[in-house]
C-alpha cells in the first residue's frame, strides 16, 4: 500500500523518473521531441545502451566511447527542458483527474493511519492476552493466599478455644459474675457546655475555612 504512494505521483513525474532511472544512459534523448520517447525502439531492451544508437537508430555511428551517465548528471540535464517541453505539449490536467488525485492522496493518508491502527490493535491483542495470562496467575496466587490465611486463622481460633477449655489454664466461661454492667446514666442528659464554646465559635468564625 505504501508503495502505491510513489507509484502514481503524477504522469509527469513518473515520466521524469523513468527517464532518469530506467533509461539513464540516453542523455541526449531528453533533448528530443517527446514523441520520440514513445517509439518502440527505445523500450526494446533494457540492455540496450549507447547514446548514438538510440539517437539515430537507423544510421550507422562510429563506435565511440561515450562516458557513462552518472546518477548526478543524468537527472539534472533533462529536468528543465523536459518539463518545459511537456508543459507546452500536454493539455491542462482535467478536473476529474485532479479530484481523483486528491482522493488518492487522501485515501493514502487514511490507509497509512488505518494500517498503523491495525498494527497497534493487533499488538495490543497480543499484549492483552499476555497481560491477562499474567494477571490470571496473580489472581490464582491471591486466591490461594486468601484460602490459606482464612483456613489458618480459623484453625487457630479453634485451637485456642480448645486450649482455653483445659482446666489447667484457669480460664472461666463468660458469666454475669465476671461481666461488668454499667448502669445507664441517670438524670439529665449531658448538656452542651455553652460557656467554653462561645469564644471558640467566635474564634473559628474568623479562622480560614481550611482550619
Amino acid at each position: 500500500m505504501i508503495a502505491s504512494v510513489q507509484r502514481y505521483p503524477s504522469h509527469r513525474a513518473s515520466h521524469r523518473r523513468r527517464a532518469a532511472t530506467a533509461q539513464r544512459p540516453d542523455v541526449p534523448r531528453a533533448f528530443r521531441e517527446p514523441a520520440a520517447v514513445d517509439s518502440g525502439k527505445v523500450i526494446r531492451h533494457p540492455a540496450m545502451q549507447g547514446a548514438a544508437a538510440i539517437a539515430q537508430p537507423n544510421t550507422p555511428a562510429p563506435l565511440t566511447l561515450v562516458p557513462p551517465a552518472t546518477p548526478s548528471t543524468a537527472p539534472q540535464a533533462p529536468a528543465k527542458p523536459s518539463r518545459r517541453a511537456r508543459q507546452t505539449t500536454t493539455p491542462k490536467v482535467p478536473l476529474w483527474l485532479r479530484t481523483l488525485l486528491i482522493i488518492q492522496q487522501g485515501s493514502s493518508i487514511l490507509t497509512f493511519c488505518l494500517a498503523t491502527a491495525v498494527l497497534m490493535v493487533y499488538g495490543s491483542t497480543v499484549y492483552i492476552q499476555q497481560a491477562w495470562s499474567e494477571d490470571f496467575r496473580h489472581l490464582e496466587q491471591l486466591q490461594r493466599e486468601k484460602r490459606e490465611l482464612t483456613t489458618a486463622n480459623e484453625l487457630m481460633k479453634n485451637q485456642l478455644a480448645q486450649q482455653a477449655t483445659a482446666p489447667e489454664n484457669n480460664l472461666v466461661a463468660p458469666s454475669p459474675a465476671n461481666t461488668i454492667f454499667l448502669p445507664k446514666a441517670t438524670g439529665q442528659p449531658v448538656q452542651p457546655v455553652s460557656t467554653p464554646t462561645a469564644p471558640l465559635v467566635s474564634f473559628t468564625a474568623d479562622a480560614p475555612l481550611g482550619y
Binding site: 549507447g50 492483552i128 480459623e154 465476671n178
Partner: protein, 591 residues
Amino acid sequence: MSNPDFPATPSPPDAPAPPFTPRPYRLQPRRLWIVWGLLAASLAGLGFNLYRLQILRAPDLMEQARNQQMTYMRPYIPRREIVDRAGNILATDRLVYTLYAHPNQFPVSREAMAQQLARPLTQDAEALLKTLKVRDSGIPLAANLSEETADQIRALKLNGLELIRQYSRLYPQQELVSDVVGYVDLDHKGQAGLEYTQEKALERNLRTLQMSRAGNGALMPDHIPSGLLGFDDQRLQLTVDMRLQRVARSLLKQQVETYKAKRGAVLVMNVNDGALLALACEPTFDPNEYSKFDLTLFKNWAVTDLYEPGSTFKPINMAIALEAGAIQSDDTFYDAGKIEIDTWEIANHDYESVGGRGDLNLGEILSYSSNVAMVDLVQQMDPKVYYEALKNLDLTVAPAIELPGAAAGQLKSAEQFIHSPVEAATTAFGQGFSLTPLKLAQLQAAIANGGLLVTPHLVRGLVDAENTLVWEPTDHPVKRVFSPATTEVVLDKMAAVIDAPSGQSARISGYRLGGKSGTAEKASPDGGYFSDRKIVSFFTILPLESPQYLVLVVIDEPQGEDLFGSTVAAPLVKSITEALIAIEGLPPSSP
C-alpha cells in the same frame, strides 16, 4: 560504452567482426522459462501442500492442535462458606490434589522415582516402590495432598506424574457445629445438616472452560465469558453464635460424660423470631473425618427424634386451659398425691415421700410439678376442646427448620383421646404423646413471646463481604396460638418454679427467669414404660420482664442417683444461661 550484444544494430561494414556471437538474446527466454518454471513448480508444490494440509489432513491436524493448545480449565469457584452470626467460618473450601503415577512414562527407573517421591509424600520409599510396581499406568499414589505438597511434586518436574485438583470441604471448628452444618461427601455433595438442605444456596455453578494455551503454557483469554472469574463473595450466615455454641457443647459433653448418658441436646433460641443461637447434640462427629463415625450421629436428634416431654409440657397445658377459659389464673386444684383413672394409677413423683399436697394454685402446681393436680386441671376442659387445642399447636406437624428429617410429633387419634379419660390425664403431665425437643422449644417460645408460634430456623441468609444481607429466607410463618394475657399468667407461674427451693440450681442472681423441669419415663417399644430409663429436661426463659431467650437442655438416659430434670439438666441450663447473658450483654433486672 559500446553494446556488442545489440543484435539489431548493424555493424558498419568496415568494422571488425564482434569478438563473440550474440548469445543471450536467444538464451534469455530459456533462462526465464527455467526460472519461471521453477517458480511455478514451487508455487504448485506449495499449493498442493496447502491443499494437503488444509483439506486432506485438516481434521487430523485440527485435532492435534486442539490437543496441544486447548486446555480444560476449571476456574476456582468454591462452594460457599458457612459462617456463624459473627462471621466466624464454620465450613470453607480448599483445594487438594490426588497424585496418580504412570510408570510407563517415567524418565527414570521406578526405584529412583520412589526415592524422589518419598520425601514430599512423607511415605516410605519401599512402600512407594511396591505401589509403583502394581501396574504400568494409573496408579493412585496419594490423595488429599495440600497445595504445598503439590508444589513440591511439581517442582520435581518428572514425567509420568499426574496431579488432579479437587475441592475439599474443611470444617475448621471440627465437631463444634457438626450437627447443624453437616458434611459433604467426596463428590462435594452435602449429605447431612445444612450442607444437605441448603445445597442450592451453597453451590455455585462449576463451569469447565475450554481455553487455548500459548506456547509457554500461559492461558489465553480467547473464549472467556464475561464475569466468569469474579464470582460473588456471598456466604451462608447462620443464626448460631460460635462462642455460645462452644460453651453449650463443652458443658453438655461434660454432663453427658458425668451421667454416662446416652445422649444430650442443648437448644438456645431467640423466642421472638425463632432463630437458634446454639444447637448442640452429644455425642457428635467431626465432619472432617465423617467416615470414621457411626451413621446415626449424622442426624440431629433434637430435631429428628421424638420423646415424651414429661413435666416440661405442664405450662403448655396450663396455657391451653387458660386460653379455653376453663380455668382462671387464681384457681386452685386438688392434689391427692395419687389417683386412679380407668384402672391406671397416676401418682406424683414424690408421692412416696410427701403424699398428697391438697389444694394447689397454678404456681405451686408447677413448682411441685404435681401430676395429680394437673390431671384435675385438664379435666376442667372438654377432652374434645383439649384435643383441638393440642392439634392447633401443630404438634403433629414437623417444624419447618432447615435441618433434614425434622419429625412431626405423635398424638393419639381423636377418637382414642376423647373417649379414653386416661389419655387426657397422661397428656396433662406430658406423657402418652411425643414430640421433638425442637418442637418443645417452639411451644415454650410461644409462651415467652406472647403466644406466637414462630418458625425455628438456623439460616440468617446470604451475606456479602461487608456482612450485608443479600438474600434471606422468607418462609418463616408465624401463628398465634395463645393470647398475651394467657402467656403472661403462665410466665408468672414459671417464675415461681425458679423462685421455689427446687429451682435453686437454675437461679441466677440479679435476673428474673422462668423455667420448668421435666423428668419423663421412656416408653418401651413393647408398650408401657421403662422404670429405669428416664429422659430429663429443663428450660428457662429470660429475662422475664421482656422474654428474649429460651435455653432448653434434654438429656437422654442419664445414669446414677437422683436423676431429675432439676438435678441433671438445670445446672447445665444455668451455666449456659450465664454464658448467654455475658455474650448477649443482658443487664441484670436487679443489682
